[in-house]
């Protein structure tokens, strides 16, 4: 098997893939959470959500505090930055 697979390249793909491929969606979710907000994390959160969606109507989001807003901006900013980096990488012809 040795020599057939470039294990170091494979390892890099896996590690970087996990950091970026799983990290970016997580950051996006975190940003959304900071903006949309569910302040308490409690076990009946899911239940409340169900009650929320069953009653049709506009979703009211409380205005997030400045700190949360900054945090969310950081999250979304990182995500956008990562996408931009991907674009630059493609344009630079870094593919093989």
């Amino acid at each position: 098997m040795n020599g057939l697979v470039e294990w170091s390249a494979l390892g890099q793909v896996v590690v970087a893939g996990l950091v970026l491929g799983a990290g970016i969606p997580a950051l996006f979710a975190l940003g959304l959470r900071l903006v949309a907000g569910t302040s308490q994390e409690d076990p009946d959160a899911a239940q409340r959500r169900r009650a929320f969606t069953d009653t049709k109507g506009p979703v009211v989001i409380a205005r997030p505090s400045p700190a949360r807003l900054v945090g969310a901006l950081l999250c979304f900013g990182t995500v956008v930055g990562a996408v931009a980096a991907g674009l630059v990488f493609l344009a630079a012809g870094g593919h093989s």
């Binding site: 970026l20 979710a29 996408v83 990488f89 593919h95």
Partner: protein, 424 residues
Amino acid sequence: MTETLLLVLVVVTALAFDFTNGFHDTGNAMATSIATRALKPRAAVLLSAVLNMAGAFLSLAVAATIAKGLVDAGAISLEVVFAGLVGGIVWNLLTWLFGLPSSSSHALVGGVIGSVLAAAGTSGVLWSGVLSKVLLPALLAPVIAIGVASVGTFLVARLTRGISQDVTTRGFRWGQVGSASLVSLAHGTNDAQKSMGIILLALITAGAVPADSSVPFWVIVSCAFFMALGTYLGGWRIIRTLGKGLVEIDSRQGMAAETSSAAVILLSSHFGFSLSTTHVATGSILGSGVGMPGAKVRWGVAGRMLAAWGLTLPAAGLVGAVCFWIQHVVGGFFGTLLVFALLVGTSIAIWVASRRKPVDHNNVNEEWDEAKGARLRTSVATTGEVGEPQVGPVVEERRASAMASAISTTGSGATSTDGKGRQS
């Protein structure tokens, strides 16, 4: 003269392969966005087509030679390339007919390997290269993608717990469209280059351009155009399998899956460990089902797909080898012409077969019915929701029975028209 005609045939066939490549791979980027209704089906394929086209122009670092390191460079001739292309196209069309996503580049590689085997025997193929560059990555790609996407989906599911579903759906649809766009762009850049490389190789072999020539502009434009055209026509059958067949997907899963695809595809080319776009995208979608608590993954569909992946290389190779033999036996330009005619005939036959159960932008999102062999039901055009197939008859039936019971309770036998009434 025949040399020129042969060159024209090879270029046309390469563009046809380019077309099937776009056609076959639309789903990799857009299936999840279509399934979650982040984009309307037609808008999604249009966006993907535009980005594929843009991607083809984005970078022109030439993918130097076809099947480099897989076959002996000396064994490559125009006839071999032609037979290989035919093998790739036929396998792409067949898998499309069955709605199975399989790697277009594997189909091409398989076709070329098959025709080299027919032309030069086993010594023409570099088997260790095939094993390490094609077979092992094909096994590893879905594993990596499933891992990355399932971790991403799990994190997203945890972090969005308690947020109203309206907010997550709206937010993640944006993220989904963004990440899917990146996948489309990467596909255009990577895969259009393959066809450009083939055409350039053919031109050099035929002496139409000097050996150190860069890709002529008309080649870039036509490759970009045909890939975008294929993408726009959309392999709806494959989109359906990826978006509805494997996993019932929501926008959070879709975003996690496409981000994982984009990340793994870009990183793998960055670290020089090339992975197939299709294998990565399919693995990511599977992973988004694995990582989401409570989501259902249809492993039966996944199994059929894996079988198709395993068959891709030998099947495309067989077609490639047969095509080369036909060319060789008939001989000369007429052999090539005959194979071309066979290719056109096969393509038309497959298209006709596909019309028996058409899948298009109208019914791409319908409920997946595994038990009934994935038969399609008509949907309400305005909402895209699945409608009851037999609304009319069912209602009438119900009315008749309701009437009968109503009549029998009034007990007036003279006015009733049904059998029971007459009896009393």
